[in-house]
Structures are given as structure tokens and as C-alpha cells.
Amino acid sequence: MTKLDLIKSRVVCFTAENVNTDQIIPARFLKRIDKAGFGEQLFIDLKPVEVFGLPDARQRQIMLCGPNFGSGSSREHAVWALRDFGFRVLISSSFADIFKENSLKNGVLTITLDTAPHAQLIAAWTKAPQSEMTVDLERQTIDYEGLKVPFTVNSFSRTCLLEGLDELGYIIRHEKQIAAFEASR
């Protein structure tokens, strides 16, 4: 997994509620058997002006999202599409469970904030949409337009992202316990 520690970038602000994985990438594009290039199909039917209205959208690595982002299907293609488009950090007041797990596994950081700081960041973006935001995973802070917003990511996920830890490798290192569990039943 690619490491992620500090991201400094302009921000996309697309805060519609309940954006689902069918909107992120429609099912008809899920027939390919590799992982590359799904960025071309990101939001292809939805075409949110908040994203495609920005000429440099693909250079913006951070997106402010709305509540329950990534709801619906378990398709990891949704994260592959966001990642391939250029996003490394997603900030919202809530994410759907499976989407959040899929993000972590692809080196995409999801930051869940309380509604108040989430709203503050959106308000700041509205005033200065060209400003750069700094997301520092090591220190767990967001710096943006004079705001300093702390966030927490559980320590395991943080280590995974900071060190590019391979989760499968982590599981397989517990081979002894897995074998013992299998033998016990």
C-alpha cells in the first residue's frame, strides 16, 4: 500500500448527502478485471459541477464530502475511481462502513469530523476555494485558512497509512493462531 503522511493540496467541496457508490461509479463500468483507470468513470452520470466545474479538479487531492458518503454497494471500484482521479483524503461528518474500510485499504484517508468543524471547513472553502489545505496524519491536524482542526484516526489505521503497512501480511503473521483456531473446531 502507498504511504500517506502529509497532503498539501487545494480542495474539492462536494457536500451532497448520501452520495452512493453507484453515483461514484455506475455498475456498468464494473466489468473490467483490473484496477487501473477507473478515474475516467468517476461521477460519470452524476457530473457534479462542484467537481467538474474546477479546471484543476484532478490535481486536488482532498475532498470535503457530505454525510454518509460512500453508501450503498461494497464495490471497491468506487475507491479505485476516486484514487485514480487524484483524491487521497476525504473529509466528512460520516462515511458508510464498507466504503471507509475500502478507502483505508487503498491508501485513501477518510477523516470523520463532528458536524461543527466539518461545517467550518466548508464555510472556509466557500470564501477561499483556491486555498491549499494541509492534512497532517502524523499530528492528526487539518490546517486551512487559519483554522486548525484536530482529527483522530485509530492508531492501527494510522500506522497502516503512515507506514504503508500491508494488512494481509499482518494477518498472515498470525498463522499460528489461525491454525490453532481451525484445529479447535
Binding site: 452512493n20 466489468k31 484496477k35
Partner: protein, 463 residues
């Protein structure tokens, strides 16, 4: 001893390494795979030179991208879909995984065939790269959808990194009224708690209305737990569950069966177990439900009026659906009726549709597509003569698959068309770009097919 919920019990009996700062490592008893979310996971295994650790606990089928007009896959019809299904064939062959491929007599929608062959059993942990894996919770199994990376983890290690979820009880007491199905119940639940109402939680459905449901109905209920944002849905196993499983090919047989049932009888929440959240619903108050918007939470009783668009999301949804606040949905013209999907494609659903369509004809302007959940269901339905009822009524009768639920095969809506669909998602474009989906039960779908308009099925029960 501290009282436990059913979820607590299944969770605890599958811990390989307990949760610390790191998530727990839990053991997976059954891993279902299909063509769409597995190819990249098998590639990962190849790259790392790893085998499938437990092919005996892994089972594959093709359902999402296959046609349902035929059981033969033709490359020239859809090269990408053809390659994807062939890839599943070669991956399963190479790694020694049992596959119910497109030509198998056990093929079907992954969440239909698991229970059908008896692989889905109480107390198991079950995963699949598909969010509707929650369906299997109807048997008292902890079942949930995972992403492709996790499919790789389970293939390689038979384990998964997981954090414990919260317990959320949904108690439905009393008797459902005539014409009300578990589809109406789950749409009602989601309309109450919202599409994120279950986030981070496992729902346990309890109460006399749930006990009264047959397994098909319970599967419909658990299937849409994910539409409430929940990690999984559960119904504690009982005689209905055991009766369903007995004698199925992958269920325990003989003395093993008796031992299994004895074990399964303990799989229920303790009387004084504490849930993080509970709601109680009076079954008798539930009406036939229909969705009017672009997520399943935007559902209402069929006789109600489209609510006010009090926020941007609702405004956008109504614009997409071309509906106005205050407008009734009853009698709204429809173009397509789809009866099928992992939500509503089982015998109970087909019999319900047939009970309405028998001796009637679908409206001339409506295309009605009926897609059984598995090849075995197709055979059973035909043995009962349901296919004849459907065809005489002017409906299309198909082979098993996901079909128009997901529009990654040839079945889709045209832009602007309205469908009444027994599937699970009314998202924008879910049934085809620009298509407008109204979710409902098989009874409501069949009744509406007859009139060509959104119809209260109770009208037809009496005629």
C-alpha cells in the same frame, strides 16, 4: 455471566486474535464469490504466490453481469462481461474453488444459492464481495459485504480484520395485515431510521411478526439491512430455520444434523441482553410501501403524497424522479415492472406475483420482466406452473441472475422510464442511466403491472 446478544455470541466464537488498538482477526466460515468483485483479488494471490487457504469454505457463482435471456454466454454480445465470467471459471479451476457457473444446475444469485444449497447456516460468519451479503443473516449467521481487497484477505487467510459493531434491535410485534410483506416492513424501517440509521451497527430483527415470517421473507428483511447503512442484519434461528435447512445438500446430515440443531438452539440474544439502540414497531400499522425518491429511505405508504422537498437532497431527488411535493403516487403511470433480485426472487415472491397475475394480463404499455433467483427456483416455479401464469399474463420469464437490479447486463431502463422494482436500490441510474425506480413488494409490482399504474394491491385481493 454478562448477558449477550446473538451478535455478541457469534462474534466471540470467531475471534482468532482479539481486538486491541488493531482490529480483531476473525475467522470466516463461508466465503461466497462472484465474477465482479473477485478477479483483482485472485490476481493479488497470484502476485504473492499464495493459495486459497480454505477452498472447502469458498463457493462461487456467476450472477451480476450474465444475461438472463439465455444460459449461454456469447463473447460477441458483451466482450467485457464474457471475459469477466470466464475469468471466474479459470480462477476457480486454478485455485480449486467450487463454482456454480452459468451452466450449472445450482447457478443463481449468490445470496439465493447460499441458503438454497444449505451452505448458509446459523452461527456462521459469512462474507462476500457484495453488500447484500446481509441476506444470510436471516439464518442467524453473521453475514456482511466486503471490498475486493478483503476478498483477497479471506481467500488467502480465511480471516478478516474487523472491529466489533454496535447492537441495534428492531422489534416488530403483532400481525402484518393482509397484503403486507417483509419488503414493506423493511422499507418502513428504513423510512424511519434513514439510510445511515444503522451505520456501525448490526441489526437484530425480533418480535412476533418476524417469528411469523418464513425464511424467504426473513431473507428479504435482512437483505436490505445494508440500505439502512447497517453492517449486517440478524434473525435468531428457530424451527422455521431448521425446517428450511433440513436435507439440503450442504447442511449437516444424520447424527451431525441433530448435533447442529442442538447447538443452533442456543443462538439467540439473552433475555436481559443490552442493545445499544432499540426501536419497536407495531406490525399492524404498516401499509404497502413504495419509494418515491433516490434512496430507499425516501419511501412512504403507497397511498401517501410525495413529501415536501425540505432540503437540497430531496429537491434533487424529486427533480430526478420528475415528481412534485404533494403529488400522490397512486395511479402514476409506469413503463417497466421488474420482479427479481436478491431481495425478492424466491418462491414466496414468485407465488405472490402469480397470485395477482393469475387470470389477468399486464397493461399493454408495460414491460414486465420476472427473473427467478436461481436455476433451481426456476425449475420449481415451472413445476408449479407459475411460468405459464406469467407468460399468459404477458410477462417475460427469464433465467436466473441479477438482471435489471443493477443494469450491468442487457436488462436496463431507458432514460426517463419509470419502473416498479422489487429490487433494493432506487439510486439514480441504478437500473440504467436516467431510469426512475420505485421500490415495492412483489404484490405491489404485480398489481401495478396489470394496471400500468402505481396500484394498491389490496384492491386486487378482493376482486
Amino acid at each position: 455471566m454478562q448477558p449477550k446478544t446473538l451478535y455478541d455470541k457469534i462474534w466471540e466464537s470467531h475471534i482468532v486474535v482479539p481486538e486491541t488498538d488493531a482490529p480483531a482477526i476473525i475467522f470466516i466460515d463461508l466465503h461466497l464469490i462472484h465474477e465482479v468483485t473477485s478477479p483483482q483479488a485472485f490476481d493479488e494471490l497470484r502476485e504473492r504466490k499464495l493459495p486459497v487457504r480454505r477452498p472447502d469454505l469458498t463457493l462461487g457463482t456467476a450472477d451480476h453481469s450474465i444475461p438472463t435471456t439465455t444460459r449461454v454466454l456469447v463473447a460477441s454480445d458483451d466482450q467485457l462481461a464474457y471475459d469477466q465470467v470466464k475469468k471466474l471459471d479459470t480462477n476457480c479451476a486454478e485455485f480449486g474453488v467450487e463454482l456454480f457457473g452459468i451452466e450449472s444446475d445450482k447457478q443463481g444469485i449468490v445470496h439465493v444459492i447460499g441458503p438454497e444449497v444449505g451452505a448458509t447456516q446459523p452461527g456462521k460468519t459469512i462474507v462476500c464481495g457484495d453488500s447484500h451479503t446481509s441476506t444470510h443473516g436471516a439464518f442467524g449467521a453473521l453475514a456482511f459485504g466486503i471490498g475486493t481487497t478483503e476478498v483477497g484477505h479471506v481467500l488467502a487467510s480465511q480471516c478478516l480484520l474487523q472491529r466489533k459493531a454496535k447492537n441495534f434491535e428492531i422489534r416488530i410485534e403483532g400481525k402484518l395485515r393482509e397484503g403486507i410483506t417483509s419488503k414493506d416492513v423493511i422499507l418502513f424501517v428504513i423510512s424511519q431510521i434513514g439510510t445511515a440509521g444503522g451505520t456501525g451497527s448490526v441489526l437484530e430483527f425480533t418480535g412476533s411478526a418476524v417469528r411469523d415470517m418464513n425464511m424467504d421473507a426473513r431473507m428479504t428483511l435482512c437483505n436490505m439491512s445494508i440500505e439502512a447503512g447497517a453492517r449486517a442484519g440478524l434473525v435468531a434461528p428457530d424451527e422455521t430455520t431448521f425446517e428450511y435447512l433440513k436435507g439440503r445438500p450442504k447442511a449437516p446430515q444424520g447424527a451431525e444434523w441433530d448435533k447442529a440443531v442442538a447447538r443452533w438452539r442456543n443462538l439467540k440474544s439473552d433475555a436481559d441482553a443490552v442493545f445499544d439502540r432499540q426501536i419497536v414497531i407495531d406490525a399492524a400499522t404498516i401499509e404497502p410501501m413504495i419509494s418515491f425518491g433516490t434512496n430507499p429511505g425516501m419511501s412512504m405508504p403507497i397511498g401517501a403524497k410525495v413529501p415536501l422537498s425540505d432540503n437540497e437532497e430531496m429537491r434533487r431527488a424529486l427533480q430526478y424522479m420528475d415528481l412534485k411535493p404533494g403529488e400522490p403516487l397512486l395511479d402514476h403511470p409506469i413503463d417497466v415492472v421488474f420482479i427479481g433480485s436478491c431481495t425478492n426472487s424466491r418462491m414466496t415472491d414468485l407465488r405472490a406475483a402469480a397470485s395477482i397475475l393469475k387470470g389477468r394480463h399486464v397493461a399493454p404499455n408495460v414491460r414486465t420482466v420476472i427473473v427467478p433467483g436461481s436455476y433451481q427456483i426456476k425449475q420449481m416455479a415451472e413445476a408449479e406452473g407459475l411460468d405459464k401464469i406469467f407468460k399468459d399474463a404477458g410477462a417475460e420469464w427469464r433465467e436466473a441472475g441479477c438482471s435489471m437490479c443493477i443494469a450491468m447486463n442487457a436488462d436496463k431502463l431507458e432514460p426517463g422510464q419509470y419502473s416498479i422494482s422489487t429490487s433494493n436500490r432506487n439510486f439514480e441510474g441504478r437500473q440504467g442511466p436516467g431510469g426512475r425506480t420505485m421500490l415495492a413488494s412483489p404484490l405491489t409490482a404485480a398489481a401495478s403491472a396489470v394496471t400500468g399504474r402505481v396500484t394498491d394491491l389490496r384492491r386486487m385481493l378482493k376482486s
